[in-house]
Symmetry: C2
Subunit: 302 residues, 2 copies
């Protein structure tokens, strides 16, 4: 069915919003782009709250913990509680602690990523190395190759390599990740978004930062962010809702909208302030098509 264009259609907006009890929101590209808040975002969130809707902010951004995200919402003047935030680092931490249930001491996670991943693993009591360790933020040296090949710099208790967006990626950290994978560690990713929308343009995303390990190891990670249904299951487990009364709001067809469709949600809403263009889902034979779309989230104010 062709997606319904809601911008400027007051009656259409009301009918659409009334169908749902729960709105799951992607953040980057929907509420804001980097540090730039889209007009009407805060007011739209307030409007939905005033109608009694349950809101969940689902983000693949692995660099921030839920606590970090709460601060970002506060700084942007958008109302949200820490409990409403569900990030890919949190999703990965839950998967590792509650599904993998690794036995100590062989339960360490080698992180390729930022502090948000460390904080969420800490919150689930999962030990980790790598990540923001300053000792690894250096150039690789010839002797590193010998030491890594001999296993001298490797922690034998590492059972998982977890990749996310890493602004401090380098050759040394990648080589260590490859060595752990060669020793049989499980390969997980907070998410595999190829790009990161920022400042109105596109930059390398978490999937691009894990790409060297994918290429070098010949393995694909299990991704725990959108559109992985492992994340949807975890969200439903935490918030308990009727999927048919829930709507996913996002800017990316192949992550957000696909996530909602595959999760069997009652609807999906695409906003045109991020990655995907309307030509992609309006084209004949488009594979991922949202229920409705607006130019920007604030258009829901009517």
């Amino acid at each position: 069915m062709a997606p319904k264009y809601l911008t400027g259609d007051k009656a259409g907006i009301d009918a659409f919003v009334d169908q749902f009890d729960v709105f799951l929101f992607d953040c980057d590209g929907v509420l804001w782009s980097g540090e730039h808040k889209f007009p009407g975002t805060a007011e739209t969130i307030d409007m939905l709250r005033s109608k009694g809707k349950q809101l969940v902010f689902v983000t693949n951004n692995s660099t921030k913990s839920r606590a970090d995200y709460k601060k970002k919402f506060d700084g942007m003047g958008i109302s949200a509680s820490e409990d409403e935030v569900f990030g890919s680092s949190y999703s990965a931490a839950i998967y590792i602690s509650r599904i993998l249930k690794l036995q100590a001491p062989k339960n360490k996670v080698y992180i390729l990523g930022e502090t948000g991943m460390e904080q969420e693993l800490d919150s689930e009591g999962v030990p980790h190395i790598g990540g923001t360790d300053p000792a690894l933020r250096r150039d690789v040296q010839p002797e590193d190759f010998e030491r890594i090949a001999k296993g001298e710099d490797l922690d034998e208790n590492v059972a998982v390599v977890l990749t996310g967006l890493d602004y401090h990626m380098n050759y040394l950290k990648t080589a260590l990740g490859q060595a752990y994978l060669r020793r049989g560690a499980k390969f997980l990713a907070t998410n595999i978004d190829s790009t990161l929308p920022s400042a109105g343009s596109l930059f390398p995303g978490a999937g691009s930062m894990s790409a060297p390990l994918v290429k070098a190891s010949g393995q694909e990670p299990l991704a725990l962010g959108k559109p992985s249904q492992a994340m949807m299951d975890a969200i439903e487990g935490k918030f308990k809702f009727d999927r048919k009364k829930a709507c996913m709001v996002g800017d990316r067809l192949n992550t957000d909208i696909q996530f909602g469709i595959e999760g069997g949600l009652g609807g999906t809403l695409c906003v045109l302030t991020g990655v995907s263009k309307k030509e992609e889902f309006l084209a004949e034979g488009a594979s991922v098509v949202p229920t409705a779309y607006v130019d920007k989230l604030g258009d829901l104010l009517g």
Copy 2:
């Protein structure tokens, strides 16, 4: 046809060697692994020279120029002239200068890689930026996103993004490469080897270091190292030989051996001191099978 196992087969070795006038050698994994020279390497090279064979050292290692390689051969005590070395950086430089023939000033190359790439572009008179520029060896900062998005840090004369093995890869350099590709720069790679054999183990190769750009841009680079036949054509153009009288010696089925087979050479010889295992080409239905194989190059001494 099943590959012939030559180790210990003196008559078989003589018959095999006598078939060829030219031997093309891969270096890493064949002559040496990192800083470790395999036993018998120097003597085998001398033996082939004494029989009047023409030798070409074909390497996908982009970090070294031909001059660097000559020094490496000298340090290893293996006889070779600079003119016998044909590296992927040289191959890329020739492709850019003689095939692309870009018009100044819009003929700059943005390099993701090491000094070998810079030296070979210099030798062909091709202007370049990036590479070993110390200004790019730093953490990405929030303001970089704004500046790159606005094009403020971009050189408008960049027409090519050339990736190779970069021991100093980082987020900033990758983001700049992505920005140039988004502006229409051609995407080239010295080579796309997924792994780098070193110290008896495997590390991320050039193909792993270009993987973030491939993922972020959705584009595949044109590779100018093995097994790209652009490299074979350039080698033949320089050395002038009868392909049927030439043999490719290598350790990787999907680069070296495939390179020789697709190039229509008279034979290929696989050595088992590197990446590929004999089980791979002895298996029923193996897709890339060498003419012959030895445990190590030195076994050709009989």
